[in-house]
């Protein structure tokens, strides 16, 4: 074996330039796949955290049927804002915190114009316990919904600009209550959101929970409990536990079910990353094929000599496969070191990105995964072996007489 390893190594060193270029292609390919995958997982994690910690929570509890008719904001499918169901939710193992919300549709008026809004009544103390990143929604010029400001409302930035209002101004919100009666209440603008998403920025209205209950004629009622969990990795266990505990009258949805578009985006993102990895893999494979074919063509006479002095076809095959495996192993190893080093550096330093549809910049921290690095090296080796299979078989099939005759 040592003879073949030594020969394979010397075969690679013989044309240093070409071998180095191939090695570089493998190194860069593997490095990019490892870093790209780590970056992609970092982006996914940031997106998920953004959703879980700033909007949807990890789980949401509704009255059965609520989600299916959510577009109509079905206030009749409501929940008590205190009592056994809420306590059962809070005391379920794995649940960290619970907040109550009312979601409603309404019209915002300033006396001359009106426009549709998507309203939410929330308890600021509970809300920040479940969605701590909500605090960052409102810039320094205003405040978020406050417990001590009954009429204090937060508007989407675009919505506020379209009305020309700023913190301190007053508007009127009109909405149909649970029983269908239309009611109107004044609100004092206390803050404007930065608008993570364009639609939210144009339609969002947040008021204290008690104010929303008054507007909608729903004292003591809410439309959803939003749940934070201790460990997001245990999300589905907690979901199952909570669902079993609350019974068939209630439905428990995970953030993926509440925001299917975002969940789809995460899936598409992983697919794109997979696609990029595949393209890189194919490029690397073709690079190795080219190198090995050139190597075989340059060494036809030498292969003829080896066959003449008694080398078997299988040994010739092994020799060229060893060369390719060495390229894959060394290139893959270097690529893994490079990819992991870049990942570790940026997981500390962070990468600032602006997600599509958002005006808020986010810091992505790539997540190093030794399993991905190992898999990438293994794939590089297997790819190099696959790429070398044809050139190596070609070398092994040579007729020694023809090979020796080659000039």
């Amino acid at each position: 074996m040592w003879t073949f390893l030594s020969l394979a190594f010397r075969g690679l060193v013989r044309n240093r330039g070409r071998s180095l270029l191939t090695l570089l292609a493998i190194t860069v390919g593997v490095g990019v796949v490892i870093f790209g995958s780590a970056f992609g997982e970092g982006v996914v994690d940031t997106m998920v955290q953004q959703v879980v910690n700033a909007r949807a929570g990890a789980l949401q509890v509704h009255r059965k049927g609520y989600m299916d008719s959510m577009d109509a904001a079905p206030l009749k499918l409501d929940l008590p804002d205190s009592g056994a169901v809420l306590e059962a939710t809070r005391s379920t193992p794995g649940v960290r915190a619970v907040t109550r919300r009312i979601r409603f549709g309404g019209m915002l008026n300033n006396g001359t114009r009106s426009s549709m809004v998507m309203g939410a009544g929330l308890d600021p103390v509970e809300e920040f316990a479940v969605c701590p990143d909500r605090r960052a929604e409102v810039p320094e010029t205003g405040t978020h919904v406050r417990a001590d400001a009954d009429h204090g409302a937060v508007l989407g930035g675009e919505l506020a600009r379209s009305y020309g209002v700023k913190p301190g101004d007053t508007l009127t919100v009109t909405a149909a209550g649970r029983e269908g009666a239309v009611n109107a209440l004044d609100i004092d603008v206390v803050g404007l959101t930065r608008g993570a998403a364009a639609l939210e920025s144009k339609r969002q209205l947040m008021v204290p929970l008690s104010h929303a209950q008054g507007l909608l004629g729903m004292p003591g009622r809410v439309t959803e409990y939003v749940v934070a969990v201790d460990d997001l990795r245990q999300l589905h266990d907690v979901q199952a536990r909570l669902s079993a505990r609350l019974g068939p009258e209630y439905e428990v949805h995970s953030w993926e079910q509440v925001m299917p578009f975002l969940y789809g985006t995460v899936g598409r993102m992983r697919m794109i990353l997979g696609g990029v990895s595949l393209v890189l893999f194919v490029m690397v494979v073709f690079g190795v094929i080219n190198t090995m074919l050139m190597s075989v063509y340059e060494r036809v006479r030498e292969i003829g000599t080896m066959l003449a002095v008694g080398m078997r076809r299988g040994q010739v095959l092994r020799l060229f496969l060893l060369e390719a495996a060495a390229l894959g192993l060394v290139g893959g190893g270097l690529g893994a070191v490079l990819g992991l080093a870049a990942t570790l550096y940026y997981s500390g330093a962070g990468i600032v990105i602006s997600p599509p549809g958002s005006v808020v910049q986010q810091v992505v921290r790539p997540e190093a995964s030794p399993a991905v690095a190992l898999a990438a090296v293994a794939v590089a080796m297997v790819g190099a072996l696959l790429a070398a299979a044809y050139p190596a078989a070609r070398a092994a099939r040579m007729n020694p007489v023809d090979a020796l005759r080659t000039v």
Partner: protein, 231 residues
Amino acid sequence: MPLIQLKDVHKEYLLGENVVHALKGVDMSVEKGEFTVVTGPSGSGKSTLLNIIGCLDRLTRGSYKLEDQEVGQTDFDELADVRNHKIGFIFQSFNLIPVLDVLENVEFPCLIRSKPEPRKVIRERARQVAEDVGLGSVVHHRPDQLSGGQRQRVAIARALVTHPSLVLADEPTANLDSVTSNQIIDLMLKLNADKGVTFLFSTHDPRVTKHARRVLSISDGKVSEGANDSH
């Protein structure tokens, strides 16, 4: 028992759409310890004959026995073993492996065996053979650091290191100057005389033919016993 024995050996191959009859019923034998030359004009079938005797190619029909073993229709890997154990090759263009030094080139046929001897034994024998052919001072040189004569000596050492029954030399002096050619011929004659190595040459070189103890002529795919006027 002759070392090699060919009976009614035919070799046909396709050249485009035409069937070429390179050998047309060759009968010949070579005894152990002979120093034989095969001569003939270009295209007469010399190389084809040597390829078949060297087990590099298979005959179309007939019989070829090497040390009484029929090898004419043996499969490729078995032929590889026969070549490795029983035949040494000396090529016109030396055909050394450029990335290996002299010793490594010499020991190469021993290292690729399915059950090689211990490395130390192989190395010692390769060193001894290299010294025997006058390469003692350049054993760690690469082929590109050697003269043409030295390279051919490496090829001779590589051919001898396995203690083959037969050494085939295809135009071994064609790429060498006259002084070096004479040295190489002398070396092979010495090996033949001292160690009983059987040599079979294919050559146009009258200097080689002059020293041959037996000359075979090949013409139009048939072999005949030729006369060597110098003896």
